[in-house]
């Protein structure tokens, strides 16, 4: 096989590639052409296939032949698999996460039903967003579908297809609260919910049932020891259990989104509505609910009922401490119940999120399955969404959370899933609300609100910090 060619630039818009294709099998020749066509080079290039190369340009041709050969060899895999790709749906999911496990366990059934193979691409959490954002910006979809965090909708919206009509109205009414609103941007539903999640209260059941603890608590606080439902009870109980090498609870002080969510949950319980960005997209940090939430967190710090290194703790670290018997209560994502029960057995109990003056409130953490707008397989991709909606129970079995009310109902009396009822109550609470759907959220969260929470926990004046943050957000939004 011999390939050689030359390139000369005739104008800025036209490039001639002269290729000598001696003894080249026609599929290979076709393959080069197809590849170059598929890579949108035909608008710049024309091909002249000749039997003789020019001797004068021999050196140039040799060089070009290397380039052309490399391009051709690189294209072989794409050519070879082109027919297979037409019957393949590519989905991008977080590697090692529940979405990957559920997608893999159902791929064979989907292929059997439709003839379409599911190609599951995985990426760590940090890479998922970057890949999808690049696909959106370049208007070329490498993937047909993806499973994404609710927070990414505003930034990815222009690259996602509307999935209105994929679910029937009865199927939509089977979704847990706030899920439809969370996936709706500018009136269009952009994703089918896969699961929803929220913080609930996990506690050491054995400590609450201990008779000596009950007596001592009543003597100390004047009321019966019970699983806390309010801020005041939670604070008292946390203080009470801070003894014998154990802390009553912990708060998330780690730099980043985790601590901001923890604070906003307290704020919503204190009565904050339209979190951070109020009506007309104007920041509303002047609302006293935000300062009350910070003050409550500082009270827990002052009481000493949380670990001293609270500024370095996130949900995973706190959950680990709880599993190792160092913490009596934690406000954490509901799915952590399964791993805690695995470690501590029936010593673990689950209850709804605690309530401030405005009642129970939490921030949902749902994920959605989306179709990329530039995918050429829209119909079959939507069929896959419908198929996966029917497999929603898989997420409950894998992660301990799901999106459908009927799936929750099926598991709420299952002793292995004692967190399900608590999660349902929390999600249905009137103060439970989504974070604002704005493209700027990540920036607001990590650059403005995270330092605000950390500075306040370290002792800075909360009113000043809130006022500074308010100004910074106003400046950022212009």
């Amino acid at each position: 096989m011999q390939i050689c060619g030359s390139v000369r630039e005739k104008s800025f818009t036209k490039l001639h590639i002269v290729v000598s294709l001696k003894n080249i099998c026609s599929p290979f020749k076709l393959c080069i052409e197809q590849t170059l066509k598929s890579q949108h080079t035909t608008q710049y290039a024309s091909f002249l296939v000749t039997e003789k190369g020019s001797k004068m340009k021999h050196k140039m041709q040799t060089l070009i032949s290397v380039v052309v050969t490399a391009a051709a060899v690189l294209s072989l895999a794409a050519c070879g698999s082109s027919s297979a790709e037409s019957k393949t749906l590519s989905i991008l999911v977080e590697g090692g996460g529940p979405a990957e496990k559920v997608a893999r366990s159902n791929a064979a059934e989907f292929e059997k039903e439709t003839g379409y193979k599911i190609n599951i691409d995985t990426s760590p959490y940090s890479g998922l967003y970057d890949k999808l954002k690049a696909e959106t910006d370049s208007s070329k979809a490498t993937h047909d579908l993806a499973v994404i965090d609710v927070l990414w909708f505003p930034a990815l919206a222009k690259g996602l297809s509307s999935v209105d009509g994929v679910l029937s109205s009865s199927e939509e009414s089977d979704l847990m609260p706030q899920l439809k609103e969370g996936g709706t941007i500018d009136g269009k539903l952009l994703g089918i919910p896969t699961w929803t999640n929220a913080k609930i209260l996990l506690y050491r059941k054995d400590l609450f049932e201990n008779e000596a603890n009950k007596t001592a608590f009543k003597e100390q606080y004047g009321y019966d020891l019970k699983v806390p439902t309010t801020w005041a009870e939670y604070r008292d109980t946390a203080k009470f259990f801070t003894k014998d090498d154990m802390y009553g609870t912990a708060i998330i002080g780690q730099t980043g989104a985790d601590s901001v969510t923890g604070w906003l949950e307290f704020a919503t319980q204190a009565g904050a509505n339209n979190l951070v960005l109020g009506k007309g997209n104007k920041p509303n940090l002047g609302d006293k609910a935000y300062s009350q939430a910070l003050d409550y967190m500082r009270d827990l710090v002052k009481d000493g009922s949380i670990p001293a290194d609270y500024l370095s703790l996130g949900t995973s670290e706190i959950s680990n401490m709880f599993n190792q018997g160092k913490i009596a209560m934690q406000l954490t994502w509901a799915h952590f119940y399964l791993s805690s029960a695995e470690e501590l057995g029936d010593k673990v109990g689950a209850a709804p999120m605690i309530a401030g003056s405005a009642g129970v409130g939490a921030i949902p953490g749902p994920w959605y399955e989306v179709v990329m707008k530039n995918s050429k397989k829209q119909d079959i991709a939507k069929k896959y969404l419908e198929f996966m909606y029917g497999k929603n129970e898989g997420y409950m079995e894998t992660l301990g959370v799901a999106a459908r009310k009927s799936v929750f109902a099926k598991y709420e009396d299952n002793a292995k899933y004692a967190h399900v009822k608590a999660l349902e109550t929390t999600l249905a609470a009137k103060q439970t609300q989504n974070r604002p759907a704005t493209k700027m959220w990540t920036e607001i969260e990590t650059e403005i609100l995270s330092p605000l929470v950390q500075n306040s926990l370290k002792g800075a004046n909360t009113k000043d910090e809130l006022s500074k943050a308010q100004q910074s957000i106003e400046d950022l939004l212009g």
Partner: protein
């Protein structure tokens, strides 16, 4: 030199011992994280994330290593990492040595110097700011998750490093060698291959080692350009930490395995590494 005076008097001995103690402390500080990871990899999975951690395992276990091989495609990931690092290094050395030889022999040209500064400037741009456009290009051309493309991208991003390393080596080779080869009738390419290249082989090896390690340790480029078929070990490692799971036990096992090639390379080729690092440090 300090060591030459060792043993002359008590004061020298004291300083010698103090230096050894200090060196030992520094060594421990550098080696401690690795040793902690190494011993953690032999702990049972739940002991790895203990609230009261111990340095040595209370119970030795191969559970983490078994888990690595059972729950992930670590073998394929290793093969991908090795191929990507090796092929990109070969491309870099092949093209980089030709280019740097040419530039070193035409250093009087203003254009060469400008080119070099430009290349250095390109290397100064943070990888995170160019990797997303690279991803855009790669997926536009339909080569996403394709190992040969990863090799080419690594070769591209590591080329400035190779150029700057190799130019300093080639400049140290006397021009008289080229002239002698020319007198004997060799053209530039022949004199490069037959005369110059053998002289700089040790430098070529040390540059190759560094280039290999740059590609071997890369996370960001592989994170964006690969997903399943071409995934490398650093990306596979990161998937032990998901937004819903913290699987540190198997992660330590995989990290220890990943570090072995680097340790082996460093052990057997350390003299080349040292000569490479000190290149150009003494002039005249």
């Amino acid at each position: 030199m300090f060591h030459e005076r060792f043993g002359r008097n008590k004061s020298d001995n004291f300083w010698m011992i103090a230096m050894y103690v200090l060196a030992g402390i520094f060594l421990l500080a550098f080696v401690f994280p690795y040793l902690y990871m190494l011993f953690s990899s032999f702990k049972p999975s739940n002991e790895v994330i203990s609230v009261n951690p111990t340095f040595f395992p209370e119970r030795w276990s191969l559970e983490n290593y078994r888990s690595v091989f059972q729950t992930s495609d670590i073998g394929t990931n290793f093969a991908n990492s090795f191929i990507a690092a090796l092929v990109s290094t070969i491309i870099c050395l092949l093209l980089g040595s030709l280019a740097s030889y040419a530039i070193s022999r035409t250093a009087v040209s203003r254009f060469s110097n400008f080119l070099l500064v430009l290349v250095l400037c390109l290397k100064m741009i943070p990888m995170s700011s160019i990797v997303v456009p690279i991803y855009g290009l790669v997926q536009q051309f339909g080569f996403y998750d394709y190992l040969p493309v990863l090799c080419i991208v690594y070769a591209g991003v590591n080329m400035p490093f190779v150029l700057w390393m190799m130019i300093s080596f080639f400049k140290e080779v006397p021009v008289e060698l080229d002239e002698a080869a020319a007198v004997d009738g060799a053209g530039p390419l022949k004199s490069f291959i037959r005369v110059i290249l053998p002289v700089v082989t040790p430098s070529l090896i040390s540059t190759g080692i560094f280039t290999f390690l740059l590609a071997w340790n890369d996370f960001l480029v592989a994170l964006l350009l690969t997903s399943s078929d071409a995934k490398t070990v650093p990306v596979a490692l990161s998937e032990f930490l998901t937004s819903y799971n913290l699987d540190l036990g198997p992660m330590t096992g995989a990290a220890v395995l990943f570090s072995f090639p680097v340790i082996i390379i460093s052990f057997f080729l350390q003299r080349y590494l040292v000569s490479g690092m000190l290149a150009g440090s003494v002039k005249g």
